[in-house]
């Protein structure tokens, strides 16, 4: 047992003496979460809106005021004719233009219906869609609140609520996704690199020729990373809470356990990569290309899985991160218990076992 602790201590020394490792281990998660939290967001703020009011009556002016007092939009100018719309979009001064038809108030009162046209610059399709949704929301609430005997310009009376994330906060989505990504990156990348480094420097031969058993060597190498990755996972949760107010509605203990399972899963994947890679570069390349990109693209972190082509949907089931994200969202945002995530947990457990067995098999082939 003493031999083993000596070996683990040495691994910690490797980590704490290498600045690059430290930066990746502790700097990266913090930078990533703050970057993603602040920059990449699905909220809209200060969207420039142009107004082409062809009636200039009381109803249209009130509606305009309502738009700009909502907090989401800022005025980009008042237009006089249709040509100016294109001009405004091309110059980039506005993302949305709202057009009130001629005789807006009159139509509203006499015919019980009036038209508002919303035009967006859809060259950025996502934010165009978002702005539109927000605008419709603002206008609809306004017309409904006018306790007049008139109908809303839209004949459908809809009401929507965003459960678990009422304000549609982007960070709520990103915290579980980032956790999956960062833990995968650190656990798998770092272990595969540290194990191949021993191979490259020839120290692995010495260890294998020593009384240490292969499983002791691997266990000794990954133990520090289990601990450090776990610290990282908790840092992300804490940062999400303190900086962005992302809550942990469900059980913190369950969340911790699931994190540990996912970390071990990623580590075993890292070990498998290391049995196939000869050099550190190779290991890094395999981890980056084979894990990072698919995790970002296919796990549902950024792009919804339901919108993917069938083939990619099928591929995404192979992504460990996909299941972990579901688990984390369930625990953190919905507060569900184990009964709702046992399936995902089982899948992750199965994957872990598979990777460990595959590594052992690869290792034996190498000895022969």
């Amino acid at each position: 047992m003493n031999r083993f602790f000596g070996f683990v201590k040495k691994e910690f020394q490797h980590i704490f003496r290498d600045v690059r490792t430290l930066v990746i281990l502790f700097g990266l998660p913090i930078v990533m979460i703050i970057l993603f939290g602040f920059v990449v967001t699905t909220e809209i703020r200060d969207v420039e809106v142009g107004i082409w009011d062809r009636s200039m009556d009381q109803a249209s002016i009130r509606a305009t005021q309502k738009i700009f007092s909502s907090g989401y939009f800022v005025p980009a100018g008042y237009l006089q004719n249709e040509e100016e719309i294109g001009e405004l979009f091309r110059s980039g001064r506005a993302k949305v233009v709202v057009v009130f038809e001629e005789g807006f108030e009159r139509n509203l009162q006499r015919e019980k219906r009036a038209a508002i046209k919303l035009i967006t610059d859809a060259s950025d399709a996502n934010s165009a869609q978002l702005s539109l949704t927000y605008l419709q929301g603002v206008l609809m609430t306004y017309f409904q609140s006018m306790n007049m005997d008139m109908e809303v310009p839209w004949s459908v009376n809809m009401k929507s609520r965003m459960f678990y994330n009422e304000e549609l906060k982007g960070v709520y989505m990103f915290v579980p996704g980032l956790m999956a990504l960062i833990l995968m990156l650190i656990s798998a990348l770092m272990t595969s690199v540290t194990i191949t480094r021993e191979k490259e420097f020839g120290t692995m031969e010495l260890l294998l020729a020593s009384p240490l058993k292969p499983r002791e060597i691997i266990l000794g190498k990954v133990t520090p990373y289990v601990l450090l990755s776990f610290v990282n996972a908790m840092t992300i949760v804490l940062l999400g809470f303190l900086v962005f107010g992302v809550p942990v509605v469900g059980s913190l203990w369950l969340l911790m356990l699931e994190c540990i399972l996912y970390i071990i899963l990623a580590l075993s994947l890292g070990v498998l990569i290391s049995t196939n890679a000869k050099t550190q570069q190779m290991a890094m390349f395999m981890s980056m290309l084979g894990l990072m990109l698919p995790t970002i693209l296919l796990s549902g972190f950024i792009f919804p899985i339901d919108n993917m082509p069938k083939v990619l949907q099928w591929f995404s089931t192979l992504m460990p991160a996909r299941w972990f994200i579901v688990v984390v969202k369930n625990i953190m945002l919905k507060g569900t218990g184990f009964t709702y995530i046992w399936k995902e947990t089982l899948i992750m457990l199965g994957m872990t076992l598979f990777f460990i067995l595959a590594s052992v098999k690869r290792f034996k082939i190498r000895l022969n």
Binding site: R3, F7, G202, E205
Partner: protein, 243 residues
């Protein structure tokens, strides 16, 4: 059945990689306390053989006993009794001299007190006591080589396997290194060393010369020179290779 004097006994050892035969029916023994030279050109199969004897790889067939233990069934016991030094003088570059020694000593199960006293002794003798807290990456190659060897025999193994231990160092350092090897045999350690420097063969008690996976000659350097009517081992080797 195992001769007490034969610390390594190899009979008909074969190692194949697919259709390529790296070791072709090697049969030899190593006597206790001798320096056994394992010579041959690059790619002759030396490293393959040494890896099998150290338990780093399995043979395809053959009967092999190392320090009285079978390489198929008793690898763990063998590993306790051997030391191994690879051609890269592998030590951890980001650990200090002292940390490397303590790490390997710990892996071989030495106690704390034992390690401390032996470490001091060793570093005093090598004249490296003053750099014990320097990182390995900061010390010259010659020192690294001596240290790698000292680490390999720190736990006083029965046999130490040296895989091309003199590559890349200057002649003076090589000379000193062979003196260290001699000192080790005086402590009762058997030395199994591979090299492709033929002049180093003169330092060995017995040498075997490998060509294309086979052992073509095996005897003391003096008898080999006589047998091949050569002035030095280099000539012996060239004659063997041309045959």
């Amino acid at each position: 059945m195992v001769d007490q004097e034969h610390i390594i006994e190899v009979k008909e050892m074969v190692k194949k990689f697919g259709s390529f035969t790296a070791n072709d029916r090697l049969t030899f023994h190593v006597e206790k306390g001798e320096i056994f030279g394992f010579l041959g050109a690059n790619g002759a199969g030396k490293t393959t053989a040494i890896r099998i004897l150290c338990g780093l790889s399995y043979p395809t067939s053959g009967e092999i006993m190392v320090a009285g233990h079978d390489v198929y069934r008793e690898r763990e016991k063998i590993k306790q009794k051997i030391g191994y030094m690879s051609q890269k003088f592998s030590l951890y570059e980001d650990l200090t001299v002292s940390e490397n020694i303590r790490l390997y000593a710990g892996i071989y199960g030495l106690g704390r007190k034992q390690i401390a006293s032996r470490e001091e002794q060793l570093l005093e003798r090598l004249g490296l006591w003053h750099i014990r807290n320097r990182l390995i990456r900061e010390i010259p190659l010659g020192w690294k080589q001596k240290l790698a060897f000292s680490v390999a025999i720190f736990h006083q193994p029965a046999i130490v396997f040296l895989d091309e231990p003199t590559g890349g160092v200057d002649p003076v350092a090589r000379r000193q290194f062979w003196e260290m090897i001699h000192d080790a045999t005086e402590e009762g350690i058997t030395v199994f060393v591979t090299t492709h420097y033929m002049d180093e063969a003169e330092y060995c008690d017995r040498v075997s010369i490998m060509v294309d996976g086979r052992i073509d000659a095996l005897d003391t350097p003096a008898l080999l020179k006589q047998q091949f009517e050569s002035k030095n081992m280099n000539e012996v080797f060239l004659k063997l290779a041309r045959r």
